[in-house]
Amino acid sequence: MPQFLEHSMTAWRGQQVEHQQSWVDRFDPRAKVLAMAMFALIVVFSKILWLPLMGLVIAFCFALSASLNLRRTLRRMIAMDMFVVVMVVMLPFTTPGTAMFHIWGLPATYEGFEYAISIALKANAVVLALLALVGTLEASTLGHTLGRLRVPEKLVHLLLFTVRYLDVISREYRRMRKAMKARAFVPRNTLHTWRSFGYLVGMLLVRSLERSERIYAAMKCRGYCGKLYLLDSMQWQMRDTLLLIAMAVFAVFAIISGAYIA
């Protein structure tokens, strides 16, 4: 499906339009998701600092070879790093240990600082790898992949329907918003504004619920009885096995190097 969701504003877009094809795209989506899961576990459970650092370097290599769009990727990374910054500021003051310096009598500890750095490294490594490996999949392909990997059907359906209808709902929202504007509505900090937005959200919920009932009826009309069939052609190839083996080697290396012993 080549142009999936490319015109929508809120829908979770595939990066198809944004990045050039690369060898990372040639991997089977299942291999990418599995490799990603392994990578995340290896990095997250590390108790030492240099393993996440190494993970970040590996993730960086993935991102480079996936020829990710630089601006989009940076924007997403920064969005997550906002949370990380808060932690890096807070943790030295809340973790007990040897004091590094004092602010207003509060001690900032070496242990807390190390802890914060490790979280920052892990988070960035995992998110960057996620953007490179899973972010390059289109949303519906990811749904199919999870289905093939035997993730519970209900969750897969939930994802696929969200992908399909997010756009419809957002269009409905914009239509109603336009209708409000057409009647000279300007948001202010007044009761009228808040009430109108309340109506807008409420109406959106009611309409979505009604739509979901009509969709269910339409599906029943075509013989739906709880099973969705996924039409796709995923081909597991030699390089997919190699990718997983490479990840396994990384895991074994991490275990042997004692990264999980406190």
């Binding site: 015109h7 009826a217 339409a218 009309c221 075509r222 739906y224 039409l231």
Partner: protein
């Protein structure tokens, strides 16, 4: 000649709207294209919903394809034989791509993956929609969406078509194309529409839903 679908003394009421169908009788025979006209809120869509068991009638019977149908299990078979085209194509197209959507019905009928794709391709070809297989459903134009939903319904090889305002929001060219396509289909049809010119070009018999009754018009 026995009717394909017969409604006998069907009644239905909504909590707020009250009684919309009052002991309605109607039959659809093979090779017929029947119009169902009537004002907004008269209960036309409700009537079609009752025929395929999406709503439960307050009283009355539905006899479809030779048997009385009363419980959900009966209606599964009815829905496969009576293709229902909804008012809003966006309610019907829920798969990412056209091919997946058209193949959804046959797959539910137990056909294999290859067989379903084959059927989907054939139906699309028959409607002149070759090349749309990999298109994304919600990016189609109104007229294209309409024809794809029709393809999705036809892929189940129904004997009857129930069309709920099929010409809604179509431009002139799309409407002419739809008329042409429908005229060449062998199925018996019930067509809900407010457009006289659209109905004139298609139907063999006209009925009206008025004050809860279906009468010949």
């Amino acid at each position: 000649m026995t009717a394909l679908i017969t409604a006998e003394q069907l009644s239905y009421s909504y909590p707020v709207r009250g009684l919309v169908l009052d002991q309605v009788n109607m039959s659809l025979y093979a090779n017929e294209r029947v119009s169902l006209e009537g004002s907004n809120g008269a209960g036309k869509t409700t009537f079609l919903n009752l025929l395929v068991g999406l709503n439960k009638p307050k009283s009355g019977r539905v006899i479809a394809f030779g048997r009385e149908r009363s419980v959900e299990a009966d209606f599964v078979e009815v829905r496969a034989n009576a293709g229902f085209l909804f008012q809003d194509p966006d309610d019907q197209l829920f798969c990412p791509t056209v091919l997946e959507d058209v193949a959804f019905g046959p797959l539910n009928q137990g056909k294999s993956m290859d067989e379903s794709k084959q059927i989907a391709t054939e139906v699309l070809e028959c409607l002149g929609m070759v090349g749309f297989e990999e298109r994304v459903t919600h990016q189609l134009s109104g007229g294209e969406k309409r024809l794809i939903t029709l393809a999705a319904v036809l892929a189940m090889r129904p004997q009857v078509l129930l069309l709920d305002e099929p010409s809604n929001a179509l431009d002139k060219a799309a409407r002419l194309r739809l008329i042409d396509v429908l005229n060449n289909l062998p199925q018996a049809m019930i067509i809900i529409s407010h457009e006289p010119s659209f109905l004139d070009a298609l139907v063999t018999r006209r009925t009206r839903l008025e004050r809860g009754k279906i009468i010949d018009a």
